[in-house]
Symmetry: C2
Subunit: 456 residues, 2 copies
């Protein structure tokens, strides 16, 4: 391993230059006008796998964006790792809040800023470079490796379940490794053992055929923007608790031992609040901030649009109003159940003075694993070697729906081996990745393959 | 008058062709990029006044858009009419809902479709053509006439009060005539004797420094889009009554006689509802639709914007949320008083988990006059001659703040002599003016000058 680590250290600058090329491709899966860019990112991913020494590299078509597949199976008798990641990225608006353009990666203070830097191109590329170093210096990998990089993660991995079911044989493995999550804190690497699930909706209300003059008609008909506010306000009480009947029925209570473990984590509420720039922290009564984010479900408004939103004043009574809303779910809530409860509640709370349409968008199940399984422990040792300190064990507030799919379809456990940071701005302007963590992550990845190889 | 009317009838098509040119100028005063077009519309207005035979025509600069002034003072001993109108227009979004482009006037089924067709270029042009016909056929006007056409009506006539105060002498008159309102219904001309006032605000909430990932941070901080919904929902109760404390304190109760008069008007609720395309009519409990629109104040949401509003799903926790809101006021509410009550209430209902900013935009006082004054009766006779039936007397839900200004600064009563229709789509896509009403309106305007001349 010394030679491999030396190689990684020597090539540090080259890795950053290559990563910049990867980040330059605006592979925004949510926007139809970027379909070509999405494909270009898939091709770029495949090419870099080939360069790294992976075999059978190919793009596999799906009804949506292609999956990039590649493998290296030259370690008979050793475990097989299925590495999962994604090459697509989030939209970039509001563009004017980016300090530098989202698709021209820029390094400032040891961090690389670009859409996809942390989520997830940077973390995918970290493994590609670890593989390259192993193969270049030792002629191969200590384990068998399958790479499975999709292009629809940011639009809910809509074709992934079907793909995994159709390719069960090809994807067979002993463990799934995913690097698509942040560490607990700067300097505190972590292994994540729980994720929240998600259901996402668009609510559309229509009050009248067309926009009206708010003077000539104001008072005579319901205002869909106001009705939308009423409907949304009914979703949570003043204490931050979701009011949808039955919403909490399947929530697994937080155990005393887990609460006690989390209390020991070095979490500074004041610093956290200041970093977010929030006047106050706020969430469900009776829970700490970590508990609220990791172990409690939420209801959030993700977007609002109605009427006149430009500069100045326009006295319009809008015809329509739209909200994007989503709920993060925790074990053992099921997205389908929650979706049903939500739709019923919207229809109940929405008055008959407007037409309402509820459209379900993507989602995923929550996930949780035991954190003392052998793969998780192997990942812990690898992290310690790459980062110089043992990881903490945490849950995450985000969702990686594919983890449940791998568990259910392939019967394979996942190890979440993430090197982002909590302030990485994934899904927001100025997304970034710490280049020190990127570098240590390449070394830790190489150690991870070694540690898993030694499990047999 | 016969010669004048014949001239108007003969020139019917030419008037429409000329109006199309006027409507082609995108004089949107709310949008800074149209400043040049606004000036162009002012110049066009002035030129057409000159062509009509008006004298002393000039553009008078203000700190904003110029006022177009012109007069004809060749009837000594006769009353002086101050005609007020505006050459600026509303924005046109959402553009995709226009059947034909808003600045390429299109005639369909006897109606001309374009932004400004009814509000107010079409109605201003109607008087210009009436003046032209009188001067062309009789060598002059039966009354003295001052034309005062402003370019900031759609942004709240921000410099108008100051302008009127500064030009009291120049604007001195016996009566103000304004054609900037709809008739009661198709085939039912009307004289309007009451208008609502307006206060308009923008509310801006900020939760965090930047947008956040709704998974990683959802549950830990207040969501400004949700808080905005809560704040807005607090503005009205389920019965449509505004909840701002003190809001109704100065509302002049509707008299039994006025209610009785309105009950006699040929108003068809079912047709009204169907024309608007609303599932149901809805408004303040205890009042009829006409009462709600003409005699009761309202709270409306005019616009909403927050987070992700594109196609698809983005799991963002928005940093900011914005609403445009306005209240229509009735006698004797005062905009300043209501603005103060509103700001206090927003700050009271908004939790300390977000930063709130309330920005007051334009507004105006409500107005009401006795409808049996001699000018109103003269207008009634003119309408009857132009349209073949006597007008009904109504109030209007919209606001023309300048009416109060003329009353207070010049001590002059106003006659609202409007020929639009309730479904004219002022401030909405597919704004239109009925060309039959436009034509009859030119004839009625010529009669109006005659009727007012005979009052002495």
């Amino acid at each position: 391993m010394n030679e491999v680590v030396d190689f990684i250290n020597v090539n540090r600058d080259r890795y950053v230059d290559e990563l910049k090329q990867y980040l330059a491709i605006p592979s925004i899966s949510a926007l139809p006008q970027h379909t070509g860019d999405v494909r270009r990112a898939a091709e770029w991913t495949g090419e870099s796998l080939r360069t790294a020494g992976m075999q059978n590299v190919r793009l596999i078509d799906t009804p949506g964006n292609p999956v990039v597949y590649g493998d290296w199976l030259g370690a008979p008798g050793k475990p097989t790792i299925l590495f999962y990641g994604h090459y697509d990225v989030q939209p970039v608006d509001p563009l004017d809040l980016w300090t530098t353009p989202p698709f021209e990666a820029s390094v400032r203070d040891g961090e690389i800023y670009a859409r996809g830097a942390a989520d997830d191109k940077g973390q995918v590329f970290m493994h590609i470079k670890a593989i390259e170093a192993c193969i270049r210096k030792t002629g191969g990998l200590p384990v068998n490796m399958k790479f499975f990089i999709e292009g629809e993660e940011e639009v809910g991995s809509v074709h992934l379940d079907e793909f995994v079911r159709a390719h069960k044989q090809d994807l067979a493995a002993d463990v799934v490794v995913i690097s698509d999550s942040p560490m607990f804190d700067r300097g505190i690497p972590s292994i994540c053992y729980g994720l929240r699930g998600l259901v996402y909706f668009q609510i559309d209300l229509r009050g009248t055929r067309s926009d009206l003059h708010s003077g000539s008609f104001g008072g005579a008909v319901a205002n869909p923007a106001f009705v939308l506010a009423q409907v949304l306000a009914q979703m949570k009480d003043r204490g931050g608790r979701v009011k949808i009947p039955g919403f909490y029925d399947d929530v697994r209570p937080l155990s005393d031992s887990e609460r006690a473990e989390w209390k020991k984590l070095p979490f500074n509420e004041t610093r956290y609040r200041k970093e977010l720039g929030a006047p106050r922290l706020f969430g469900e009564k009776g829970y700490s901030t970590l508990e609220r984010v990791w172990a409690r479900p939420t209801f959030e408004v993700n977007g609002l649009l109605s009427g006149f939103t430009g500069e100045g004043a326009k006295t319009v009574l809008p015809a329509v109003a739209m909200a994007k809303v989503s709920m993060r779910l925790v074990p053992d809530q099921h997205p389908d159940t929650i979706a049903g409860l939500f739709e019923t509640y919207v229809k109940k709370t929405c008055p008959p003075t407007v037409e309402v349409k509820v459209t379900r968008m993507h989602g995923g199940k929550p996930w949780m694993t035991e954190f003392d399984n052998k793969y998780v422990r192997a990942a812990g040792r690898a992290i310690e070697k790459g980062f110089g300190r043992a990881p903490v064990f945490n849950r995450e507030g985000g969702s990686i729906p594919v983890v449940s799919t791998f568990q259910e379809e392939l019967g394979v456990p996942s190890v979440l081996f993430g090197v982002g940071l909590p302030d990485e701005n994934a899904h927001a302007p100025n997304e970034k990745l710490d280049l020190g963590n990127f570098h240590n992550g390449i070394i830790a990845s190489a150690y991870l393959y070694q540690e898993i190889a030694e499990l047999t």
